[in-house]
């Protein structure tokens, strides 16, 4: 297996995804007394091309998905998929944070659980907390919220202010 350098990886992704990349940033940080470098890649891609981006990563090494972080900005639902690639040797690993913006009214994106089964827990969490529809997600039940939780309330959206309001609505 070939280990990519961070800037080569970024240009590889840029070549293959071209104008589907809305924003890209290579971040270099240092660690330890010797100030050795490590890298994070931040990439924003178009929703339609998101799966292609994940497939590209899969062609290099089986990517490790840590989690999806969700953010309701009030206009959009932003998802940041935290991936890492090239584990196994010192300083070779690169963090790749793929960002994708979804319509707030009817947020929907293709599931990647067929590519990476380990993404199921986090997709289910984002589904119930932000109301994002993951097309192709095999298990649509709630994971952290109870099964009888109201279907139209998404606790991590901006309009939710906390438990009190939820309790009042229910009683």
């Amino acid at each position: 297996m070939e280990f990519f350098k961070a800037k080569d990886l970024l240009s590889y992704l840029q070549e293959n995804l071209k104008e589907s990349i809305l924003d890209s940033r290579l971040e270099t940080r240092t660690a330890g007394v010797k100030k050795e470098e490590f890298h994070n890649i931040w990439l924003e891609v178009k929703r339609e091309k998101f799966r292609d981006a994940v497939k590209l990563l899969m062609g290099l090494q089986y990517p490790h998905i840590a989690i999806i972080a969700g953010n309701d900005t009030g206009e959009k639902i932003e998802l940041v998929y935290l991936f890492s690639l090239f584990y196994g040797e010192k300083f070779k690993e690169i963090s790749i944070n793929l960002k994708v913006s979804l319509e707030r009214e009817k947020p929907s994106i293709e599931s990647i659980t067929d590519l990476i089964p380990g993404a199921q827990t986090t997709e289910r969490e984002i589904k119930e907390m932000f109301g994002v529809d993951f097309v192709g997600l095999p298990d649509m039940r709630n994971i952290f919220l109870p099964e009888d939780f109201p279907k139209d309330i998404f606790p991590f959206r901006k309009e939710q202010k906390g438990l009190d309001e939820l309790v009042q609505k229910e009683s």
Binding site: V33, Y87, E93, Q120
Partner: protein, 407 residues
Amino acid sequence: MSVSTYKIPIGPIHPSLAEPMTFNFEISGERIQSVDLAPGDNHRGIEFMGRNRNVVQIIYLAERICGICSASHPFAFCRAVENAAGIEVPPRAEYIRVIISELERIHSHILWAGIAAEELGFNSVLYLSWKVREEVLDLLEMLTGNRINYGMFMIGGVRRDILAEQVPKIRETLQYYKDAYQTLEDVFLKDPSIALRTKNVGIMTYEDALHLASVGPTARASGVKKDVRQDQPYSAYADMDIKAITPDIYSGEVNGDVYDRIIVRILEVFQSVQIIEYCINNLPEGEILSEPKIVKLLGTLKKAKGEGVGRHEAPRGEVIHYIKLNESENPEVWKARAPTYNNLMSWLPMLQMQEIADIPIVIASIDPCIGCMDRVTLVDPGSNKKQVLTREELVKLSIEKTRRMVR
């Protein structure tokens, strides 16, 4: 011929599990056919609470995500904020951070070893390992003031220094653990009855570990050489040569069973001892905080804008925090991920075709955070008969199996 199955729900209060959680088992005879997981009974909405707090207040919230990983979450959180705001941490603080985290790993792994022994029915081994664990808790108390929830981490450094007069006690404790290695190896790795109960039990293959995004000792026991301290070193780890520990180092082969998970954790205890020794010998002089005035630090952070990711290899695997600062009092997004979250799915292949009596040790083998089990209900749909097993009865089943095998 159709195979008739019956269901066993375990939980929400259940055998040695991270959070109260329900397992619904489909059983045929003595073997598990399938399992369905239903977590969520302990969802506290900590990230939601973080929306009403500033970043310095969130450190203390992050510390309380888990009582055992109480250095790991603030470590990852502080790294995320430092990444977002571009704060450099003084070298001395980096080394102190690593010392505290590695001491935590020692206590966590030995705690786990004791719990695993109890699940198998060796209560004397539980007492022995927890006696060994006491030493590191005493040391942590001396260094930080607390046995858990150390309150050491601050954005841009640590809150307390390690003094010259504390170093001899640290060395003494490290020597204690070096001496204890032989005991732990004899008890956990050379004992034939522990080997009988754990070898070829709860197997997860290399492919499963990779595809299910497993982390920590759970992944390494299946041969995935993944360890943040090795792959993307940070703090003092960058100055050392750390190798991810896989069971073949000890036994020459990787089976991905419960026994391999014991090997990885026992070896990691002594890897931690070496790391702390290196840190003590090479502890740089200097400041421990990049900005000692917390009010000034908060002022800077309230003007900061940007996203950051902080990763740390906790005892159970990678902890990752994501933060988005947006020039405001409170962060716009804070997402925390504990290792057990990723390891949840690992239970599915591990529990497949296992016996009921092996459920406790297989569930415990990924080292989920808190251990507590109340009852197990056995439901036979044919006769509609309902039978409730208490924690004692399930553990008794497990102990009886050990006795049978040892005999």
